[in-house]
Amino acid sequence: MTHLNLNISGYEGPLDVLLDLSKKQKVDIKKISILELADQYLEFVEGNLENLKLSADYLVMASLLAFLKSKLLLPEEKEEVEEIQEDLTQRIIHYNAIKKLSKKIFELYQEGKDFHHCNVKNEFVISNAIVPKITLQDLILKYSEIFKKKNSIKLLADDDNLYKLEDGLKWLNQILKLEDKNWLSLFNFLPDGIINLKMRKSAIISLLLASLDSVNQGKILINQKDHFKNIMVRVK
């Protein structure tokens, strides 16, 4: 995976190290040029747009820093900027503390690993409980199970003649055969003559899913100017 290396006045090196240093207060994040940091951050994010697995940590930081940058660009009260910087610093410190603690919890002795429950053979059944062994957790999980099942039943329409993702992929693959790098409307690839409304809906859904899948696989690019505008695709 690509890493973000910063090269700005006041700091040079990877971002996570910066967080670490600022956490230990070896570097004062307030003195780091947030503008430069944000610029390099955005550059990094832009340069890695296809990489959907880009570290979520980086993305969260990028948006926070972009927000901070926009605040800095506006003629704001100096105090407010400092407040935001302070808030950001605190949140980084806090989140890093949580990450550290989550590791520390699992470094504790654990049942089944470092110590064990005592198993004693029991000649007799001893229990004063005639109440079923069911907990609140069981109940909630059971309900969400039913809920999930119910939803999936609803989604499995009674009609099994509906189009599938595979159909959508088949239609969309025509674009790969065209030796054309122009933007084309996605729905041009819908087969003609589907009159049945339900069938048409399923065709649209399978084509849309197919397009997203192809984008994910890096085969095509997808673009939509605005809400409800035409969805355009092109071979990558």
Binding site: K121, E123, F124, P132, K133, T135, D138, L139
Partner: protein, 173 residues
């Protein structure tokens, strides 16, 4: 490891083993930590647990702890097993708690399966559910709601304290 530690080690091994342990397997494990007299340790443990609530038993060269036979009279009294709630009863209970008041037909519709009278009886017996009036639809079916014991058992202040499903659902599905 000193002698006392070795004894503690063997004691905890027998206690935590899923199945009765053989002498051989204990010997092997003990050897890792030095030379000890396993027979002596086992005999000591046996006498440590004489006249106690549990006893160390040797059966077909395997060792395990079990509740003391001398307590037979006291322990035999309690014979009712903590029963497990059937899947049907759990589902029914979950549906009633989230959809109350709800009729049997409605529960069946949500489950996609029939709900037998016995299932409702089980929950009634526990006082986890109770009937609550009738739905003013053809047939005037009885509706069901959760009862006081339900809240008590699950430590809820009110039925409103159950998490809602959308609260549990993720932001991005």
């Amino acid at each position: 490891m000193n002698e006392n530690e070795a004894k503690c080690f063997i004691e905890s091994l027998i206690f935590s083993a899923q199945d009765p342990l053989t002498k051989d397997s204990m010997k092997k494990m003990l050897k890792e930590y030095g030379e000890f007299n396993l027979d002596k340790i086992l005999n000591e443990l046996k006498s440590d647990y004489e006249n106690r609530g549990i006893e160390l038993v040797e059966l077909e060269k395997r060792f395990f702890f079990r509740t003391s036979k001398t307590l037979h009279n006291y322990l035999f009294v309690e014979t009712k097993k903590a029963r497990n709630l059937s899947n049907a009863a759990m589902e029914t209970l979950a549906i009633i708690s989230y959809h109350q008041p709800v009729t049997r037909a409605e529960i069946e519709k949500i489950r996609g399966k029939p709900v037998f009278r016995g299932t409702l009886d089980t929950l009634l017996e526990l006082k986890w559910i109770k009937p609550s009036g009738r739905r003013e639809t053809p047939g005037r079916p009885v509706t069901w709601i959760t009862d006081f014991e339900f809240l008590k058992h699950f430590g809820l202040k009110s039925i409103k304290d159950l998490p809602k499903v959308d609260e549990l659902e993720s932001v991005i599905l």
